[in-house]
Amino acid sequence: MKSLIFALTLLAGLPAYAFKAGDPVDAVSLAKLDIDGGKVVVLDFFAEWCGSCRKEIPLISTLNTRTDPSKVEVVGVDVNESATAADAFQNELRAKNALNFRVVNDPKQELVAKFRPLGFPALYVIKDGKVASMHIGAVADIDKVIERELKALGAL
């Protein structure tokens, strides 16, 4: 009985993904992201304090140069609670040509709280308003991984 109570107490605090592959993204989030329904969207949640995000963003930017803008849109979401710090980080990256996609600032962290990723960076591929795939944490050669998925979805 004691172990059961202990296990239940631990389970009560466990977080969970809000969206998994196949799940539809809610209309409010899609509107906030200003997503074009006809395109496949690569959604990248990042923050300045996340070391792996700094490595991933340039890779996603190179991927952005290899995609057809009429079929694929890359959108970033900066979850930094300070919009000023978020802008400074993005400007720093843009100055280095390491960031070339549109970024939505989420200082109140409402968007990310809807998606509830269990780690950072968090990448979602969204097609027809539904999550086609997601990648959480540092992934080696993430641009090539996403490129393969976009090809499989017929967007490349």
Binding site: M1, G13, L14, P15, A47, A113, F120, A138
Partner: protein, 69 residues
């Protein structure tokens, strides 16, 4: 007391609060490291730990607290 009531009571008493990955900005700061923001102190701290415990490694992940792999 019935077991079910006891379980609910214990769950209600839990003060644990999960910190979500996107809320780890403060935790990711250098000052949150066990040895502080000075890299030299961190190295010294690790050296003492290695000497005392005769073990090495497993002291953290890249990115510092962002939940990255």
């Amino acid at each position: 007391m019935k077991p079910g009531v006891a379980v609910l009571l214990v769950l209600g008493l839990s003060a644990c609060q999960s910190v979500m990955p996107w809320q780890k900005a403060a935790l990711a700061q250098d000052t949150m490291k066990p040895a502080g923001p000075v890299a030299a102190l961190s190295k010294l701290d690790l050296h003492v730990y290695t000497s005392k415990e005769a073990v090495k490694g497993g002291t953290g992940i890249g990115g510092g607290g962002c939940g990255c792999n």
